[in-house]
């Protein structure tokens, strides 16, 4: 461990000195914790305050404790490279949320300072873990509009790019299109313009930093960000390339229209999908497939097999605008009619003006309707039957061509379903697994990851097979660090949106290779140079960490002993909470450090003490905001921040309670189907571990109500103090912990 020279700096500004006796607080450092170098300043974040610390650092101080505002602010000012800096939040947690100048308030501040000093005493200066032979090449899988845009964006930003496309030419679905919706700022005539995809293809193919593999697939992806070995197979040959990060842009497939027999598909040649219609339009006049006559009454059926639990339960988002565009194809003949039957026209954002412009064409007729069927008219034409239309209850109309607006199925869906079902069967036993493997055709995998947790992205509940994405906060991030999903594989979208998505994912991939080259966490703890460093000698190979790691960062050797692929790790500490042997530690974050901080809180006979373990991502900022709003918190409470509640170890609860702490409250983020947690399921895991707290309480013969877990979202700052205070009241009703004083 490094030799430490401590410095404690207490800020008096922002109302702190009105709330707390600064001299008494200094005495905690100087007398109780024996740190003589304790200085105060009126405004510590001011240039003179910062200089005060910098001067000390020059003199050799390398362990800096700053008792001032929340660590979520002023991080640029309080940045002292080469030191360990610990921020003690006595502004939001004390000055702004406690009664000023009471003994209780003083005790809150004293405890926070003590905990901060203990933490820094037990921490060590972290060194970044920079792996060797890193690659910064970006691999883009998929050469459609998204993939090509991602490749170009990355290349323009100075990265080397490898682009893999399974078809013999680049362009993806755009190659099939006759025209596209203009992407200019305002939609005016003409409403259909050339796709001009050739220009983009040429630009990609001619770019010196983009290497294009056509008719190719990624058959194996081994390693970790910065150190992927990706095997690309093309035409019987295979080649392994070094890759830094991956953009997944494999897009979508059209929904299988043969399942839409009730809409006449397969029964009449003149019922076609929107993609088939593009091919018809590409040939010139709109000619019917059945007899080659020009179609003059074309019916478009929206949501064909979409927003329908029997087919695709979601909206593919681009079909409304696409049908309006295709209606304009029809209207290139001024005598022809395009009839659009919709459930709702969904043209969000600027597309609304596209809708208005297209609708303004007298020959583009629209009505809301539930289309119930398409049948033969007997004269070679078709009859579209509908209910609940704006034209009347039960209406039918003759058309000479019917276009079904079928939706998007992400390319990730098939492999996901296959793997999920495989897992289900495997859980039933080896025979069931074997039968499944033999009886089910294996779909084409995309990433072919050599990961313990599986070869593809984990499936996201409620996402209908779309690629994993933390769509609330970090839409391009998947649970495989270094793999960024973009375009229609992630969510249905149109071409303009796909291009924005591509740029976003490309920049995420660049951020990833940049961060691994500096040995810091990729995201969301993008500043963090610590990393989990287990004492493997005590490992029992229980595999809990390898299973619980949300990011598949931990692999196992032949003996089942885990090892970290550290560039995949996001430093959440879930493994630390998972490990029953408590051997996982970070330089500044370990079971011992947090435990010692908790144990430092004194709990006298005549007072109550509650330890509150706080998720840093949601609950902590909510508490800061509560402080800004001057919401009062019961002075019995001491907050202890955790990187993620998934790192929660029950031993802390046991230690606290056996030491006389009256109650423990766990504040995690919300979890469930639409996870919003930064670390995917830390809160959920904490809840699972928490369900075992009963044993601890039984052993201590304490009431179950003394320990509680709550889910808090970042926006609930207004309710949170009340929730905490209510818990404190409940514990007070139970009475003091009988272990006090032992």
């Amino acid at each position: 461990m490094m030799e430490k020279k401590f410095g404690v700096y207490i800020c008096k500004g922002c109302g702190i000195s009105d709330s707390v006796d600064i001299e008494k607080l200094s005495n905690v450092a100087v007398k109780d914790m024996k740190i003589e170098n304790c200085k105060t300043h009126d405004i510590l974040c001011s240039p003179s305050g910062v200089q005060l610390i910098k001067d000390d650092v020059k003199e050799g101080v390398n362990a800096v404790v700053i008792a001032a505002c929340s660590p979520r602010v002023k991080y640029n000012e309080f940045d002292f490279p080469g030191t360990i800096t610990e921020r003690v939040n006595i502004r939001e947690f004390v000055a702004w949320s406690q009664q000023p100048k009471t003994d209780e308030t003083q005790s809150v501040a004293n405890d926070y300072l003590t905990m901060g000093i203990i933490r820094i005493q037990k921490s060590d200066l972290p060194e970044p873990n920079i792996l060797e032979n890193l690659s910064s090449t970006i691999l883009v899988i998929g050469g459609g509009i998204t993939g090509m845009t991602a490749a170009l964006e990355a290349a323009r930003a100075g990265q080397k790019v490898v682009l893999v496309e399974k078809e013999p030419q680049l362009g993806g679905f755009v190659n099939k299109l006759y025209k596209k919706i203009p992407t200019a700022a305002f939609y005016r005539e003409p409403l259909i313009v050339d796709t001009d995809i050739e220009t983009l293809v040429k630009e990609v193919e001619n770019h010196p930093d983009i290497k294009v593999y056509k008719s190719s697939k990624t058959v194996k992806t081994e390693g970790q960000p910065g150190l992927y070995d990706v095997t690309i197979a093309s035409n019987g040959n295979s080649e392994t390339v070094k890759i830094g990060a991956i953009v997944l842009a494999t897009g979508w497939k059209p929904y299988d229209a043969t399942k839409l027999e009730y809409l006449g598909y397969g029964k009449s040649k003149d019922v076609v999908t929107n993609i088939e219609f593009e091919e018809i339009a590409k040939k010139g006049k709109i000619l019917r497939p059945s007899d080659g006559r020009e179609a003059k009454k074309v019916a478009f059926i929206q949501c064909a097999g979409q927003r329908n639990p029997d087919h695709l339960p979601y909206c593919s988002s681009m079909c409304c605008a696409t049908s309006l565009k295709q209606a304009k194809y029809v209207r290139q003949n001024p005598d022809a009619l395009a009839m659009i039957f919709y459930i709702d026209i969904r043209t969000p954002g600027r597309l609304e003006s596209y809708y208005m412009e297209a609708q303004n064409d007298p020959g583009v007729m629209l009505t809301k309707a539930d289309v119930t069927g398409v049948s033969e008219a007997g004269n070679g034409n078709l009859i579209v039957e509908m209910k609940n239309s704006l034209l009347g209850e039960d209406v039918k109309v003759e058309a000479d061509l019917v276009v079904l607006a079928t939706g998007m199925v992400p390319t990730t869906r098939e492999p996901q379903e296959y793997l999920d079902n495989l897992a289900l069967e495997a859980a039933k036993g080896d025979d069931a697994k074997k039968a499944y493997l033999e009886g089910t055709p294996k779909p084409e995998f995309i990433l072919n990851l050599a990961y313990r947790q599986g070869p593809e992205l984990p499936s996201l509940e409620g996402a209908f097979g779309f690629a994993d994405s933390n769509f609330i906060c970090f839409q391009y991030e998947t649970r495989r660090t270094g793999v960024y999903a973009a375009g229609c594989v992630r969510q249905p979208m149109n071409m303009a949106e796909a291009q924005e998505d591509a740029a976003g994912a490309a920049f995420k991939a660049i951020q990833c290779v940049d961060h691994v080259s500096r040995g810091v966490a990729v995201h969301p703890r993008a500043w963090d140079i610590t990393f989990p460093d287990p004492m493997l000698i005590r490992c029992t190979a229980c595999k809990r960490c390898t299973e619980e790691c949300p990011f598949g960062a931990i692999e196992e050797d032949e003996k089942g002993i885990p090892f970290y692929k550290v560039n995949r790790c996001r430093r959440c500490g879930t493994c630390m909470g998972a490990c029953p042997e408590r051997i996982v530690a970070f330089k500044d974050y370990s079971v011992d450090i947090i435990g010692s901080m908790i144990k430092s809180v004194e709990s006298e006979e005549d007072e109550f003490r509650i330890i509150c373990l706080v998720c840093e991502n949601d609950a902590y900022p909510a508490l800061d905001t509560a402080g800004i709003n001057r919401k009062q918190i019961d002075p019995a409470v001491r907050f202890v921040p955790l990187r993620c509640l998934g790192g929660m170890n029950l031993v802390w609860v046991a230690d606290a309670l056996s030491k006389g702490i009256d109650g423990v409250l766990l504040l995690g983020c919300k979890y469930g189907e639409n996870y919003q947690c930064h670390f995917v399921k830390g809160s959920e895991l904490a809840n699972y571990r928490f369900s075992k707290v009963g044993e601890t309480l039984n052993r201590l013969q304490l009431e179950a109500e003394r320990v509680q877990m709550m889910q808090v979202s970042i926006a609930e700052y207004d309710k949170l103090p009340e929730m905490i205070n209510e818990f404190v009241e409940k514990v007070k009703e139970i009475g003091p912990n009988p272990f006090k004083g032992f």
């Binding site: 208005m356 007298p362 020959g363 007729m365 629209l366 039957e385 034209l391 039960d394 209406v395 109309v397």
Partner: protein, 374 residues
């Protein structure tokens, strides 16, 4: 209800658009219009469904639909429409197409609705009246009356046997009446298809008449509240002028008293008051329309032609009288000539112009009562 087969008609859509409904396609069926309308029945309210039918060119559902006449173009719908689809204007255009559809011969309606044919339409009365003047020998010089004043009957004869006013205008009137009779019969038949009627046409007519006399429906308008007042003024002025005309016939043919009549004559009093009322009324119509342009729309050529004709009749009529009294022959005779041309225009083209609304609206209102559509 059994499946209704619909056949969209692009030609009809374009006709509505060209006929003053150019905003038709903006409608996206939110039904704000039907909600804010004060004159629509609660059951199957207009004009939301009419906008849809019009977008799809469902001509049959529109022209045989009494609802389009229950609309008084208050423009409440137009003012509140979030997309600027101006349902009031669109229904106006559909009414025009209805008149065209049922009027006989319908090509005349096409001509009245199209500014291209305006000159031809005016040329007809000009030529007829010139022919009468030539026959009367008053094209170059007009004899004075017994007391030396201007007497219009010397310029343009009155009696039918002189091919005068009572020859030309009753013929024009008869033509219009016949055309109306044909049109209304066709219209009633079209509306009745598949509709169960109460069978009390006289009773319904009485109710409608009292509606019309009091303008009770029209008064429910919100955005263009003042319109019912100006229309009421125009309406009663027309009644006054009709009384004046009958009175003149009575003077001439029953008691044999030729014009001109002195200003204190009761006939003259009624006539002049009605004329002034009509002038004021039509000017109010014009100012209301201009004032409400932003909310209610600018109005179509068809509307403005009708307003222009009425205004011109009144202006030339009053000027003719003033020039006659002032004894300025050089102005009086040409003005009177123009006056006659406009009157002919109003009468002869009534079944094809907006004037026809009087007959079609009344018919549709009676039908609506008969069909229980309140």
């Amino acid at each position: 209800m059994a499946d209704q087969a619909i056949s969209p008609d692009l030609k009809f859509v374009n006709e509505v658009i060209k006929g003053g409904g150019e905003t038709l396609k903006k409608c996206y069926q939110c039904a704000t219009c039907s909600v804010v309308c004060n004159v629509t029945p609660d059951n199957k309210p207009f004009p939301r469904k009419e906008m849809m039918y019009a977008q799809w060119g469902l001509k049959d559902r529109l022209i045989s639909n009494p609802d389009i006449w229950l609309c008084h173009q208050c423009s409440d719908c137009t003012a509140y429409c979030p997309r600027g689809a101006k349902p009031g204007e669109v229904l106006g255009a559909i009414r025009k197409l209805t008149i065209k559809e049922f009027s006989a011969p319908s090509f005349l309606a096409g001509m009245v609705g199209d500014p291209k044919f305006l000159i031809i339409l005016f040329a007809i009365p000009v030529l007829i009246i010139l022919a009468v003047l030539a026959h009367n020998g008053t094209l170059s010089e007009v004899p004075r009356g017994e007391n030396g004043g201007i007497v219009y009957s010397k310029f343009f004869p009155i009696h039918y046997y002189e091919f005068g006013v009572d020859f030309v205008f009753p013929l024009a009137f008869a033509f219009a009446a016949l055309s109306f009779a044909f049109g209304i019969k066709k219209y009633w038949t079209a509306m009745s298809r598949g509709v169960r009627l109460k069978g009390n046409v006289v009773g319904s007519f009485k109710e409608v008449l009292s509606d019309i006399l009091s303008h009770s429906r029209f008064k429910k308008c919100n955005v263009t509240k003042a319109r019912s007042t100006s229309h009421l003024l125009v309406f009663y002025a027309f009644i006054g002028l009709a009384i004046t005309t009958s009175w003149a016939v009575f003077y001439l043919y029953v008691i044999g008293r030729p014009s001109p009549y002195p200003l204190y004559d009761p006939l003259k009093l009624v006539g002049n008051i009605s004329a002034l009322a009509l002038l004021v009324g039509i000017m109010l119509v014009i100012t209301n329309r201009l004032k409400n342009q932003e909310k209610a729309g600018a109005g179509s050529y068809y509307d403005w032609l009708f307003i222009f004709v009425i205004f011109s009749i009144m202006a030339t009529g009053i000027l003719s009288e003033l020039f006659r009294l002032a004894d300025i022959g050089a102005l009086a005779y040409p003005t009177y000539f123009i006056h006659l041309v406009f009157i002919f225009f109003l009468f002869a083209y009534a079944p094809f112009s907006k004037m026809a609304h009087m007959v079609y609206r009344a018919t549709a209102m009676v039908f609506a009562k008969e069909a229980g559509r309140e």
